[in-house]
Symmetry: C2
């Protein structure tokens, strides 16, 4: 029987530090152990130490490869060799799943909106996946399209975040950054992580709780799409207002409608809180990353850096790690952000 | 007595592997041990393994910090505490010297053209240096301006490339990349290095000759400014045609008029040859770095990558390291390169 789509996530055991350790072993030699970088200019600007986890340099240009590779590896280890890997995503998860399935020798079908950026469609195909498009403007549901493919191909769905193996894979980001900080003698006061469905921040929170329990972990979201921040305050899952009502954000990677069930259970227990940043603050962070860090960071990947630069958290005299989670942005959006964000930062 | 300017470089002993080792010790904890990165997409494109030394992530955004810090440290070790560090540069050397002098507690005066990019003037000042501008259009000579400052302040000149301590500092790039490649089991067939006056490639060639003698090292230059390539063929130093006659290149960091005396003596002995790339090939490499590597690379920093992507060297079945030497480019130039280079790569 094919798996059910993400909206009906079964209750599953949340991952723990052991699962993250196991994920790290699976990813060794496959994922990039991305560098943890530091710039005196940034430190001077905030009056503390800021360590950037440059996950932009990860395979496929975002952290999503980690979770996808861990998940598909686990499926293979469990003996249930999937016939076809299926995912739906308009962006980074698509590329992560496509690349991981290709490496592990499995065919992948990715359901993507027909009007997704051409570069994201092209890159997903370049990793060897079959791309099935649907018309999101015409009201076609990606879940329905995926359901049909799952049934027809006896496929296995790889969810973007609400899955213990995905969370464990993303958690290797947190595990790496704590040990990279420790190797230069730094105990982190805080870790700031971009958040959409919450898989990356949940995984990081688990790893950090295990390895550096005094470190506070924050989820960072775009203004208007700060469902996790509000849910953390309410201690229950709250949705964003429907698209349109919620306003607009150019953080295309961070627009999940509400926190995941599994991810929120972890985040509610472990996070110190949530922070929200405006598009203008994100553009300024992207321009700063261009000018000073020489890193290409996409809008959604830059929200944690934006929070630091905009003073949403006090870094004075403290050591703070910031995850820059992805760099898949087209030239037009990037250059517009540089034009908007320059001279302000 | 103040030092004489670069045009009258005294005969000095060329550096050796021991000098590079000593430079590496001085730079430990000061310079970034920049990552050596690899992308499956790039490997697939060239049919071999390409390892990118991301010196864009170096302090001040280019390799120049290494040589400057080593040189000024050596001045201090020799007991002749300089009163003021003086340099002339319109770009990366200015920032490298300013940052190194600041770290080592010495005042620095950098002579820069009044019409240098505002960001380069601002960043050089931000590292704590005093910037003295001159009018290059009106025919003022930077050497004359520097001479006056050297005399007046009892200053010490830090040359951009034709100095053994500068070459040894830049050589740490080569030393690092060979050992980083070895740590993942790779013996390099070739190393491609951007070249202007030749300090970086000379230092890298010395380090590579010591640690990986079978590896061939190439200097890469912009077309029309390929003085090192032509000099290597002739086995004597040849100048570029005067600016204007030489055409134009947007590789602003690679426009030295001719090879240095000291650097060329090393390069003539150790390099396998020189390669030249067009502005269009460089723009394509910058767009590729943006799109796939998520690295901001300036035109002059991208020439070695351009040579690989344009097939100037056969990478099939081979392992090739490419130095991306700097990322100090303004948004306007960068976005123009993306527009020109996209869709071609």
């Amino acid at each position: 029987m094919p798996s059910s789509p993400a909206s009906e996530a079964p209750l599953e055991t949340p991952p723990d530090a052991v699962a993250i350790e196991a994920a790290a072993h699976r990813l060794a030699g496959q994922a990039v152990a991305t560098p943890l970088l530091e710039w005196p200019e940034l430190n001077a600007q905030v009056g503390g130490r800021v360590l950037i986890k440059a996950e932009t340099l990860q395979r496929t240009g975002s952290f999503k490869f980690r979770g996808a590779f861990n998940k598909i590896s686990r499926l293979l280890e469990s003996g249930q060799k999937p016939r076809t890997i299926v995912a739906y995503s308009s962006g980074n998860h698509a590329q992560g799943v496509a690349a991981a399935a290709g490496l592990l020798g499995l065919p992948a079908v990715i359901v993507m909106p027909a009007d997704a950026p051409a570069i994201k469609l092209a890159k997903t195909r370049a990793y060897g996946a079959e791309v099935v498009t649907y018309d999101r403007r015409g009201g076609e549901s990606r879940e329905a399209v995926a359901e049909a493919i799952l049934a027809e191909r006896e496929g296995t769905l790889v969810r973007p975040y609400d899955d213990p193996d995905i969370i464990a894979g993303q958690g290797t980001v947190g595990q790496e950054l704590v040990s990279q900080a420790a190797s230069r003698g730094v105990t982190l006061d805080a870790v700031l992580v971009p958040c959409s469905g919450g898989g990356l921040v949940a995984g990081c929170a688990l790893a950090v709780a295990e390895r550096s329990p005094g470190t506070r972990v924050y989820a960072v979201e775009p203004e208007g799409f700060d469902d996790t921040r509000r849910s953390l305050v309410a201690h229950r899952r709250l949705a964003n207002r429907p698209a349109g009502d919620a306003g607009h954000s150019f953080c295309d990677a961070l627009l999940a409608p509400m926190p995941g069930a599994l991810t929120f259970a972890i985040n509610d227990r472990l996070l110190a809180g949530g922070l929200a940043v405006s598009d203008a603050e994100v553009a300024r962070a992207m321009a700063f990353a261009f000018r000073t860090l020489k890193l290409v960071v996409e809008p959604g990947g830059a929200v944690a850096l934006a929070a630091v630069l905009a003073g949403k958290i006090d870094c004075r005299g403290r050591s703070v790690a910031v995850v820059c989670s992805g760099g898949n942005v087209d030239a037009e959006t990037f250059c517009r952000a540089l034009a908007e964000g320059d001279g302000q930062g």
